[in-house]
């Protein structure tokens, strides 16, 4: 598919989604809103994992800083519930980016498995502050929001708020799409594939990774604002390690390095967690099972299925040469860089 068609397909899908959502019940609409807000975080993880080759286990930190900033401004200063909501959006993006700029200085000194560990530690730092710094964050109980913003129209209704989140989601997707197709994005992929070679060619690999890390942080901050307004509250539970693990798993489930894969991943996880969990008590087996099966049998994720099918259609001799695609590394490009570092 060429880029024009891709954008057209994505735009049609989002438009169709917007129309269909109009008829969704209040339960479904909230589920979709939460999934879309989280999908922004998942896409930011994909920018790092799928395009830059950095597997972060601490992305919840940026969601957290955006969410807590929004909640603290709203509850303490009554700020961000009118037109100044847009200022909160800007502030949260800046706060997420600033936190990533700080954390990136530490995290990007490492690579591979140590990068996983250092991002885990940094994520836990933010969780620890949210959990124990009671007077600022409300500790264990978190912060309840006084309500959703109202400017021109009120976003108190879940249906109306959904469209706001959908708008931000579409904008983030477009921005990331433009970014990964830009020369900068291509350099990121080059660094993912062969960092040493890119350095020899004169690229500042560290700076490229750092900028990607900061952009991902800013997107996380944005996701946090939308997340806290969707739920009406924020607590340390939103920032736990499993949130970061979830974001990473969503990307891999959908297919790393595709952006839309992260969105599918988020959709499936929220469907299982928010909807299936109301029907059956064993929903977590489904989620865990989907994760395990994807990692074992679908290294390219769901968006890699068409490619897998095409490959199966090739002559068997060729297929055999590939030595079983299940053994190919995740997202076909992600891991060589990680493996090489070890």
């Amino acid at each position: 598919m060429n880029s024009g068609r891709r954008v057209a397909v994505a735009a049609t899908a989002i438009l169709a989604f917007a129309i269909l959502a109009h008829f969704a019940n209040s339960f479904t609409i909230l589920l979709l809103t939460r999934a879309l807000a989280f999908a922004i975080l998942a896409m930011s993880v994909d920018l790092l994992l799928g395009f830059t080759g950095l597997a972060s286990l601490g992305q919840a930190a940026y969601l957290g800083i955006g969410a807590y900033l929004t909640a603290i401004l709203a509850t303490r200063f009554g700020f961000g519930l009118g037109w100044d909501f847009w200022l909160v959006i800007v502030l949260a993006i800046l706060a997420g980016a600033a936190l990533a700029a700080l954390f990136g200085l530490l995290a990007l000194r490492t690579s591979g498995v140590y990068f996983l560990m250092v991002t885990l530690a940094l994520g836990q730092c933010v969780w620890g502050l949210a959990y124990r710094w009671d007077w600022l964050t409300g500790g264990d109980n978190g912060i309840n929001m006084p309500g959703r913003p109202k400017f021109g129209i009120s976003f108190a209704s879940d249906h109306v708020y959904f469209y706001l989140v959908l708008g931000f989601f579409a904008l983030s997707l477009l921005l990331l799409y433009v970014l990964v197709r830009s020369p900068f994005g291509k350099s990121l992929e080059g660094i993912r594939e062969r960092e040493a070679r890119m350095r020899i060619l004169g690229y500042n690999a560290w700076l490229h990774k750092y900028i990607a890390f900061v952009i991902a942080g800013g997107l996380g901050g944005l996701a946090g604002v939308l997340w806290v307004h969707a739920n009406g509250e924020v607590s340390p539970d939103d920032l736990v390690l499993t949130t970061s693990v979830d974001a990473l798993l969503m990307v891999v489930l959908g297919g790393a390095g595709t952006l839309v894969g992260a969105v599918f991943g988020a959709g499936i996880v929220f469907f299982v967690r928010d909807y299936l969990s109301t029907l059956v008590p064993w929903w977590q087996y489904v989620l865990g099972g989907v994760y395990v099966l994807t990692i074992l049998y679908l290294p390219g994720g769901l968006t890699g299925i068409p490619q897998r099918l095409r490959r199966v259609g090739l002559s068997s001799s060729k297929a055999q040469k590939r030595e079983g695609a299940a053994d190919a590394p995740l997202g076909k490009q992600v891991s060589p860089s990680i493996r090489r570092e070890l």
Partner: protein, 286 residues
């Protein structure tokens, strides 16, 4: 806050460190040998506690529950390693995510089997008393935890330093490829180490069950703390795990007492800094 207070805090920190050593040493060995970031390690800890509860309910014997739980978890670990982890080869990301998927599965299984209530493992009455040392009332159970961790640590050290198997494990930690080259069956070493790591985590779960409790969510609470132990000490080093456990245990207790608002921050921020400056930890080898 007098000397008395600080001594108690230090004692508590050391005893918590003893528990962390049991969890962290296994995680560290698994990482050192297999380069696996095992996100299911907290699940091993939790399942150890639950299995012990079932054994105690069935037999009434706390003493029996310790080996039963540790062995049960070790068998589970062997299964996970043999059937699943081996299939994804040396791909770090897939290994990590696979263990995460299993952590979710174990979480649900534990919830189904043992329910969602907070439970406590009751040690024998003999261990619930306190001893008085120099005017300090020390709970005997915490003394027992320290003694057990020291004994296990010594045993592990003897195995690693004085046996053929230990030499093979150390060789695999240092350079798996060379180890294979000189004829060490690193696959066998991997499964032994994974079983040992799971065994120690399960053991920690029983011992910690009387101290932290046994409840859903404990798995992902203990996991990052165990990682802090491993990181600070250096992955793949037994001595490192011991020092890391002591540092984290003390930092945790003193941190809670001194700056309650920053309690966890004081634990994870040094971990992140250390990783950035010296990724191999204080005692890890390059």
């Amino acid at each position: 806050m007098g000397a008395h207070f600080w001594l108690i805090q230090i004692f508590n920190g050391i005893s918590y460190g003893a528990l962390l050593f049991l969890v962290g040493s296994g995680l560290s060995l698994i990482f050192g040998v297999m380069r696996i970031v095992n996100l299911a390690h907290g699940s091993f800890f939790l399942l150890g506690g639950y299995i012990a509860l079932s054994v105690i309910a069935a037999t009434g014997s706390w003493e029996l529950s310790i080996p039963a739980a540790a062995l049960g978890v070790a068998i589970l670990g062997v299964g996970l390693e043999r059937v699943f982890l081996r299939r994804v080869g040396f791909d770090v990301l897939r290994q990590v995510l696979l263990t995460a998927g299993f952590a979710f599965l174990f979480q649900q299984a534990a919830l189904d089997i043992w329910g969602g209530d907070f439970m406590n493992i009751t040690p024998p009455a003999a261990l619930t008393r306190s001893v008085v040392v120099g005017g300090l009332y020390l709970p005997l159970y915490r003394v027992f935890m320290i003694a057990l961790a020291a004994a296990i640590g010594l045993l592990l050290w003897l195995v690693l330093e004085r046996t053929r198997l230990g030499a093979a494990i150390r060789a695999t930690v240092d350079d798996a490829e060379m180890a294979r080259g000189v004829g060490i069956d690193t696959q066998r070493i991997s499964v032994v180490v994974f079983a040992l790591g799971a065994f120690l985590a399960g053991l920690g779960g029983v011992i910690g069950g009387a101290f932290l409790g046994v409840y859903p969510g404990l798995d992902f609470e203990i996991l990052p703390i165990a990682f802090a132990v491993v990181i600070i000490g250096g992955m793949g080093s037994l001595g490192g795990a011991a020092v890391g456990a002591l540092v984290v245990g003390l930092a945790n207790n003193l941190g809670q007492a001194l700056f309650p608002a920053l309690a966890y921050f004081t634990l994870y921020a040094p971990m992140a800094l250390l990783l950035a400056v010296k990724p191999t930890g204080l005692f890890g080898r390059e």
